[in-house]
Amino acid sequence: MLERVQSERTQTDRTMIEIRDVTRSYGSFKALDNASLAIREGEFFSLLGPSGCGKTTLLRMIAGFDKPTSGSIAVDGQPMDGIPANRRPTNMVFQSYAIFPHLNVEQNVAYGLKRLKLDAGAEKHRVGEALAQVSLTGLGKRRATELSGGQRQRVALARALVMRPKVLLLDEPLSALDKKLREQMQVELRRLQQAVGITFVLVTHDQYEALAMSDRIAVMFGGKIAQVASPKEIYQRPVNRQVADFLGGMNFVKAEIVEENGASLVLDTLGFGRVRADKPRAFVRNGGAATLGIRPERLRVLWDNATAKFEVSGKVVERHYFGEITHLIVEIPGLEKPLSVTETNDFGADDIPVGAPIRLAYDPEALVAMAD
């Protein structure tokens, strides 16, 4: 909650990066296919997608390491065509961190400052400031080869931030860290971005990373941008099955469109009957068929004689224990695929016997209509 409030402070309505109809082809293969995107100033923006979806290609084109086959990229209103990487107002944190092995931490961070010909005091001050931002104060004299993975990542961050770029580009910066460190760095990166107020563009294939850190996310598949929205909207109102599936689990139910009006759709389904569901903003109708989706954690187990206004009933066919939660697979008459249900273990969901009849409650607001 606190973070959202802060985030409104760093974000403005100005467009920092404008990507217009950008295509990048390698022969007949299109790594990026007619992508358009506007990233706002001060925003933490994520490009999310499986490997080979074109997210890294897009990032490298913003940095200037790759050129669009067609289309244009502008940073802070300046067209970037023909401007080499070394003269762009962007800096990058590389996936491998690319720490110069022949230099120590301080020299690595000061690398880009040398060209600015600052006086020794000013340079030292900026290096110290950048090291403090990433909590590396005191490690300035360490050799690059003596650093841990997390420290190398901080050096890479400091080295880019010290340049005070308009845009900081991060290419899968957390993928080389172990789980615990990765989660800690997610929080820290977000905090850092809020503190410096620089536009961050993050490339990641980890949906939780994108959800946890970003103001907005662009989900990409096969060189195309599928959806651009806030983490919450992406998660709750995915535009299609692909997006829904990539961001966590989702139960898909075949549906028939009965009625379509402004903001909602009336759908006929086998298991859930006739339901009304919100229409996603980018919904494109494809004939009369659609898909109804519901997240496994939005289905609640109804105990004993409890009732709910909206419920389905079936039979437990599988149970998987995950510590704080239990994952149930429930067969519903009429549905071709059983439903996944995630229930916290507070009330004993881990004791539900396989084969037992079960009733599940759902909130109609949790139902999402998707293009097929």
Partner: protein, 305 residues
């Protein structure tokens, strides 16, 4: 042996009937290198010991006087002829090694950074001169540099010179040109290998931080490939000091090097002890020079940061 056996766990002793001594990594290592080691001992260390011993003796017509003397070293270090030859050898080898590295670096850089899919083809092409004998390659330089050679006729044909130049062949320049060409491959390969090891992302990172192509080369690629350049310089420098075929064939009287003098002492002059003293002196000076080269390069590397 007994101690080692007691120290090792009994389970392992039961599983393997081999002596624990053979299982120690150090012993296995020595066993692996022993053929090479024995070979080097017999053909490298022993001859050097013989040479060192000779350098303290005296030639007495057909026999060797085995009394210890430093007279040979006095001659080797103070006679102007040997001093001049030694200086010239060092000058030639140093020039050749620097020139070779300077010329080989761009070639290696091109293959490594721009060779694309044809890297191995380029490397293969570079080794082609080795298909012919070294003598033939030296001889071909004679054809190029000679009085009526390719270079002279070419320059005359273009009207740049009126009569053939004698400055091309039979002097130390001819030796330098020939040796530089002959050793090029030995310099290209180590430099190529060290350039291949330079992570290309580091060059991108330097570019990202504002460096143009030249600056990123000077600040990242060059320092990171310096070890290859140093070893290339040493690989060329050390053997060229002692080269005697090249000066003999293209050096004339101005291109004679210390090895020619050493050869003469062991051959025609038949003064093995003096030849030995000259050899040992050269060896020591080359070692010192190699050490100095490494230090100078390290200093330059530190300055470049």
């Amino acid at each position: 042996m007994t101690v080692a056996a007691e120290g090792s766990p009994p389970l392992r002793m039961a599983g393997s009937r081999r002596s624990p001594l053979l299982q120690s990594e150090a012993v296995q290592g020595f066993a692996l290198i022993s053929p090479t080691f024995v070979y080097a001992l017999i053909l490298l260390v022993l001859p050097i010991l013989v040479v060192i011993a000779h350098s303290f003796w005296t030639q007495n017509y057909l026999t060797i006087d085995h009394t210890f003397t430093l007279e040979n070293y006095r001659i080797a270090l103070t006679e102007p002829i040997y001093r001049d030859l030694l200086w010239r050898s060092l000058y030639i080898s140093l020039t050749v090694s620097l020139l070779t590295v300077a010329l080989a670096y761009p070639v290696a850089y091109f293959i490594s950074f721009h060779g694309g899919r044809h890297k191995s083809l380029w490397l293969f092409l570079i080794t082609i001169p080795f298909w012919t004998s070294y003598l033939l390659r030296v001889m071909s330089w004679k054809v190029i540099l000679g009085y009526n050679g390719v270079l002279n006729s070419g320059l005359m044909g273009l009207g740049i010179i009126d009569e053939p130049s004698t400055a091309l062949l039979y002097n130390s320049t001819a030796v330098i040109i020939t040796l530089t060409h002959a050793w090029a491959t030995f310099a290209i390969l180590p430099i190529f290998v060290s350039l291949e090891k330079v992570d290309r992302t580091l060059v991108e990172a330097a570019t990202d931080l504002g460096d143009g192509p030249l600056r990123s080369f000077l600040r990242v690629t060059l320092p990171l490939s310096a070890p290859g350049a140093i070893s290339a310089a040493l690989i060329v420098m050390i053997p060229t000091v002692g080269d005697y075929v090249t000066p003999k064939l293209v050096g004339g009287k101005d291109g004679v090097m210390i090895a020619n003098a050493i050869q003469a002492q062991f051959g025609k002059a038949s003064n093995w002890p003096l030849g030995a003293a000259l050899s040992v002196t050269t060896m020591i000076i080359v070692s010192l020079m190699a050490g100095a080269t490494v230090l100078v390069f390290r200093g330059l590397q530190r300055l470049a940061r």
